[in-house]
């Protein structure tokens, strides 16, 4: 778009005087504010390990696989590092980093709370090797379960507009993790309310997460997609949701 010889200040009216001169108070205050802003920006953007610092989350297969790879990597440098040892060390480091970060960002709390200067850039930090998909079934009496919704399916598409929206995708992603079990049950009750209205004959709804290891490229090319298994099963009677 431009040659490298064009300076950033090339076309700007830059104050020419090099010697310090008297300026109005407002420009000095602006100078302080911009430094405060930049400090808030950089410090808020520092990694916050506290977000993922939960023992239950560390036991998930995706996280355990990361530990295995990293333990293998560190073991190449002359001393074997076990997964347990790596986890213990990382837990201590993460706690120390979290408390230091907390102290550093404290002066910027009002700026974050009232202006929204949050910097949460933990985007796609790691691939989820064992992702979950929401699956919903209904049934009448003791009859067979009938699948009405599968995440990303073009066949089972009940209330798809809700679950396909990126905000609900974000929520569903979280609810596949154990620390969100309480909210997952709230979601189950919400689904029951909607299913009770949409399927007047149905007596029960079943809400589950299909947890499936993502296949390697070789497995995909060989047509061997892992089956996966169902977790977090909720079976809810619809009777109470029709009153």
């Amino acid at each position: 778009m431009t040659s490298a010889s064009d300076g950033e200040g090339g076309g700007e009216r830059v104050a020419r005087a090099r010697a310090p001169r008297r300026r109005p108070l407002t420009i000095h205050l602006l100078g302080i504010f911009v430094i405060y802003h930049l400090a808030a920006l950089v410090l808020q953007a520092l990694p916050d390990p506290g977000v993922g610092l939960k023992r239950s989350a560390w036991q998930e297969p995706t996280v355990q696989q990361e530990f295995r790879v990293w333990a293998g990597f560190f073991s190449r440098f002359g001393r074997e590092v076990t997964v347990d040892e790596l986890q213990r060390r990382l837990w201590e480091i993460a706690q120390a980093v979290t408390s230091t970060r907390k102290a550093l960002v404290r002066p910027f709390a009002p700026y974050v709370d009232y202006i929204g200067m949050r910097q949460p850039w933990r985007m796609f930090v790691a691939p989820h090797r064992f992702p979950t998909s929401l699956v919903i079934d209904v049934r009448e009496g003791d009859g067979p379960w009938r699948t009405i919704f599968v995440e990303r399916s073009n066949e089972h598409t009940w209330r798809r507009a809700i679950f396909d929206h990126d905000r609900m995708r974000a929520a569903l992603f979280r609810y596949g993790w154990p620390e969100y079990n309480g909210t997952y049950r709230d979601l189950g009750r919400f689904i029951a309310r909607k299913a009770a209205a949409d399927f007047p004959e149905a007596t029960q709804v079943r809400v589950r997460m299909l947890k499936r290891r993502s296949p390697t490229p070789e497995e995909v090319r060989a047509g061997q997609i892992p089956e996966g298994d169902y977790r977090q099963e909720l079976v809810i009677a619809l009777e109470g949701f029709r009153r």
Binding site: M1, F73, I115, G116, W121, H128, M168, R174
Partner: protein, 325 residues
């Protein structure tokens, strides 16, 4: 110390044309509309942002920003009013209504509305909420309505205006996008972004049902390409601060060292912008992540000085007018 402070204030006193900030404002305004309209269309306003009592999917009593508390807590009337105000402010921002002071008020209203709504349900928010909040605050700090706006038309009869604006808000916009990319790169500590994980991160991320638009098993046949893109994406993100260093060195008077000469020899922005635009378009095409790509791309024009944007636009128009019909 006094000299350094004086130099700092001289930077803050710089003035320039308003085109970069105006484009940033327009794209940010469109991003606000893109944030609210699909939520309304999907019937998610009550479901995601209201308590179970009002049709929400989870208990949300007592949630939200200071504004929600100040306005008496979560009710359907309040949430729908905020959505309405958010839409109107997004439209006003896109059109450039309000002038130097009014335009900033519009941005502030849009900011507080989005902040209030996005903080109601922490599970149903994305990084784009935070980035859009940051964009709106930067539009409070800078005058985005000087040109390419209804306000410019009201003042001078044309959409464009030569009115100058402070340059430092654009510098903060550059600092913001550098921080976003550098921080997200540093956060990527997964082995799968690195050689020990076989550079398989992008492949597995694209297979995640949470984000993809369609089933993506076909990328198994493009696996080496996903490995290359994994490596390039990570390197591009963690090295994005080089763009800031490049811009700083270019405007700094006086002789440069070897590293300085190397970093300013070519326009470093071009490869970074080309890669970034391609990456965001690919994300938009393959993944459902809301208005994230649009919000991020709004930052790119601010990497260029207004006169560079004017020259680029004139060149593009000349090229298009020369095309045979």
């Amino acid at each position: 110390m006094i000299r350094a402070w004086d130099a700092w204030l001289r930077v803050l006193e710089r003035r320039e044309g308003g085109e970069a900030l105006a484009v940033f404002r327009i794209l940010s305004g469109l991003a606000i509309l893109y944030t609210y309209i699909p939520v309304i269309a999907a019937g998610l306003v009550e479901i995601a942002w209201l308590d179970v009592e009002y049709g929400g999917y989870r208990p949300l009593t007592g949630k939200g920003s200071w504004l929600i508390t100040a306005l008496g807590g979560l009710t359907p009337e309040l949430v729908w009013s905020l959505v309405g105000v958010g839409l109107v402010s997004g439209l006003a921002l896109t059109l450039g209504v309000g002038g130097r002071v009014g335009g900033r008020i519009v941005a502030f209203v849009a900011l507080q509305t989005l902040l209030a709504l996005s903080m109601i349900n922490g599970d149903a928010k994305g990084s784009y909420d935070a980035l859009l909040n940051n964009s709106l605050w930067l539009l409070v700090l800078g005058d985005g309505t000087a040109t390419l706006s209804l306000d410019a038309r009201r003042r001078g009869g044309g959409w464009r205006s030569a009115l100058e604006v402070a340059a430092w808000p654009r510098y903060l916009i550059i600092a913001q996008i550098i921080t976003v990319y550098a921080s997200t790169g540093i956060h990527k500590v997964s082995a799968f972004w690195l050689p020990m994980g076989g550079y398989t991160a992008l492949y597995y991320i694209l297979l995640q049902p949470t984000w993809h638009r369609w089933e993506m098993y076909w990328i198994a046949w493009l696996f080496p390409l996903t490995q290359l893109l994994t490596a390039l994406t990570w390197i591009w993100e963690v090295s994005f601060p080089l763009v800031g260093i490049h811009l700083y060195l270019r405007q700094k008077p006086g002789p440069r060292g070897r590293l300085g000469r190397l970093l300013t020899r070519w326009d470093l922005r071009t490869p970074y912008v080309l890669f970034g635009v391609s990456m965001h378009l690919m994300i938009f095409a393959l993944m459902e992540v809301g208005p994230f790509s649009l919000i991020t791309l709004a930052y790119y024009p601010c990497l260029y000085r207004p006169e560079e944007l004017r020259r680029g636009w004139a060149r593009l128009r000349a090229r298009l007018s020369r095309r045979p019909t």
